[in-house]
């Protein structure tokens, strides 16, 4: 009788301890603590957000922000050592790898929108970009209406091609829309005159132009197809504890002025491996967002 009482007490204590622990750490944080590792997903050619340098090491603006998050997680969990594993992802693999727990954060240039929030969560916005087009200066396409009746390329499966399709219908432009597999191929279509213009996020256009054979030949439009849309670092859905840590970390980086420094490093100075300079100073919208970090998917909330 006495013995079983003690066992019962021990069991109760064990169960109690178990639930207490579970309350403290759940999901991703628990995993990181147990394994002592955090896995970052990175892209291979999303310049300057997340790409490989000449030593095949992932670098970039989003990678720098992710490393700040890693520091914050390490501090939060009071770990002496936190190993960072890097895992390459593509636009097709980022969701499965996030869902099955292979990666904990996706550091790249993923647009944060309401549709996608049904599948993943995003932390505070790290970039805002609008849909514009690039064309050869020689073809003199000065505004969206000049695209009338021409062949225009955009990358298949992007919000940009969707906006182009909508604008085409709404303004009766009669544009022949060519879908391309990826940004590099779409740009190649403009380079080889298969299309007069390429509609894409303006920052990606800047990096494609800067990296092209003759950057002086191209011009990015003033006209935009959309309001500035937010890019966010992706994390698993329904993991509120982890999101809290990540949000606090990014908010601290943005409001503390460090965000601006990291921004300048990647967007206004020469970046490896080829010494490109994107020469894109911070926009007023992003500056406001840095002052008041937000994870909203709604473009209208960034003014």
């Amino acid at each position: 009788m006495k013995r079983s009482y003690i066992i019962g007490l021990a069991l109760a204590a064990a169960v109690g301890a178990g639930t207490a622990n579970a309350q403290e750490l759940t999901g991703t944080l628990k995993n990181i603590k147990e394994t002592g590792t955090i896995t970052l997903g990175h892209r291979d050619s999303s310049i300057p957000f997340s790409y490989l340098d000449d030593n095949q090491k992932p670098i970039g603006y989003a990678m720098d922000i992710c490393m700040k998050i890693v520091d914050a997680v390490k501090k939060e969990l009071k770990l002496d050592k936190l190993e960072v594993k890097l895992n390459p992802v593509t636009s097709a693999t980022r969701i499965p790898l996030m869902a099955n727990g292979t990666i904990d954060l996706e550091c790249g240039s993923t647009t944060n929108n309401a549709e996608r929030q049904k599948q993943v969560w995003f932390t505070n916005t790290h970039f805002l970009t609008a849909s514009r087009y690039v064309s050869k200066k020689a073809s003199k396409i000065e505004k969206i209406d000049d695209l009338k009746g021409k062949s225009v390329v955009s990358t298949a499966g992007t919000t940009n091609i969707k906006q182009l399709t909508e604008a085409n219908a709404a303004r009766n432009l009669n544009i022949n829309i060519i879908p391309a597999k990826d940004h590099a191929e779409a740009f190649l279509m403009v380079e080889t005159d298969r299309a007069v213009a390429f509609v894409m996020d303006d920052i990606l256009l800047s990096s494609l132009v800067a990296g092209s054979k003759a950057p002086g030949d191209y011009v990015i439009s003033k006209d935009a197809f959309s309001k500035p849309e937010p890019y966010g670092i992706m994390l698993r859905k329904d993991d509120a504890a982890f999101k809290k840590v990540v949000d606090a970390a990014t908010a601290a980086v943005y409001t503390g002025g460090e965000g601006q420094k990291i921004y300048d490093k990647w967007f206004t100075q020469k970046i490896p491996p080829k010494g490109l300079n994107l020469a894109t100073p911070i926009s007023p919208e992003l500056k406001n967002e840095f002052a008041k970090p937000s994870d909203s998917p709604d473009p209208d909330s960034y003014k």
Partner: protein
């Protein structure tokens, strides 16, 4: 696994405004079928001609057949499509190149012709093997009857050889259908391309690719059944492939 399954996604409207996500996949399927059929016709026609060339007595004909086959089968399909789509127009005179680039539906034609020529090399090798597998007596008897080389092929060798190679041709037809998926690299948004678009828009990656897989399986089952029927239909009782 932290994944939000949503099989109802296929009936939700797609963001391109062209109906539901299912409509998007079906329009991709239609493009896949059109590309594959055109490619298969090209493969059969060119493959038959080259396959015959390889078995002719003329050394020149054999060489032409040999070079054709080695050119098309030794290069990855992806590289071939890139060559046709991006490199060929640059090699032509400027006006011709520009005309080629501005053809409407350029990715479709390039894909059908590119995949067709790639597969034709495989058809040619199989037809050559089919002809070589016939007993020598067939050809000799035809010659003894006074048939010309053309008549020998038309009335004796090819009808038998094609019956023998029907089962491997079925595989080649299936390969042609599946190989059209490579054409997304030159901007042909066929079934695989639409599945990719669907996952980019909705982030429902597993549903999109499961649907694409099932659709590919279904078309291939249709093709296999049709070819089986054809095999039985044309079989000659008592001969190699007949019962």
């Amino acid at each position: 696994m932290n994944y939000n399954w949503n099989w109802g996604i296929f009936f939700e409207p797609n963001p391109m405004g062209t109906g539901t996500y299912l409509d998007m996949l079906l329009s991709g399927l239609w493009l896949t079928i059109r590309t594959a059929l055109l490619a298969w016709i090209i493969a059969l026609v060119c493959g038959s001609i080259v396959g015959v060339l390889r078995t002719l007595p003329s050394k020149t004909a054999q060489w032409i057949g040999f070079l054709y086959v080695e050119f098309f089968r030794n290069m990855p399909l992806l590289v071939q499509l890139f060559l046709w789509f991006f490199v060929l127009p640059e090699l032509l005179p400027r006006a011709a190149g520009l005309w080629l680039k501005q053809l409407p539906n350029a990715p479709f034609w390039t894909a059908a012709i590119g995949v067709g020529l790639f597969m034709s090399a495989r058809v040619a090798v199989q037809l050559g093997a089919g002809i070589a597998s016939l007993p020598r007596g067939q050809k000799q008897a035809a010659t003894a009857l006074g048939l010309t080389t053309g008549q020998t092929y038309r009335y004796v060798l090819l009808p038998l050889a094609f019956r023998i190679i029907l089962p491997p041709l079925t595989s080649e037809f299936l390969n042609t259908i599946k190989n059209t998926a490579v054409a997304i690299t030159i901007g042909l948004i066929e079934l695989t391309g639409q599945a990719r678009s669907m996952q980019e828009f909705s982030f429902q990656v597993f549903e999109a690719f499961t649907a694409a897989t099932v659709i590919y399986l279904l078309i291939n089952i249709v093709v296999v059944t049709g070819m089986r029927f054809l095999e039985r239909r044309v079989a000659i009782p008592g001969y190699i492939s007949g019962k």
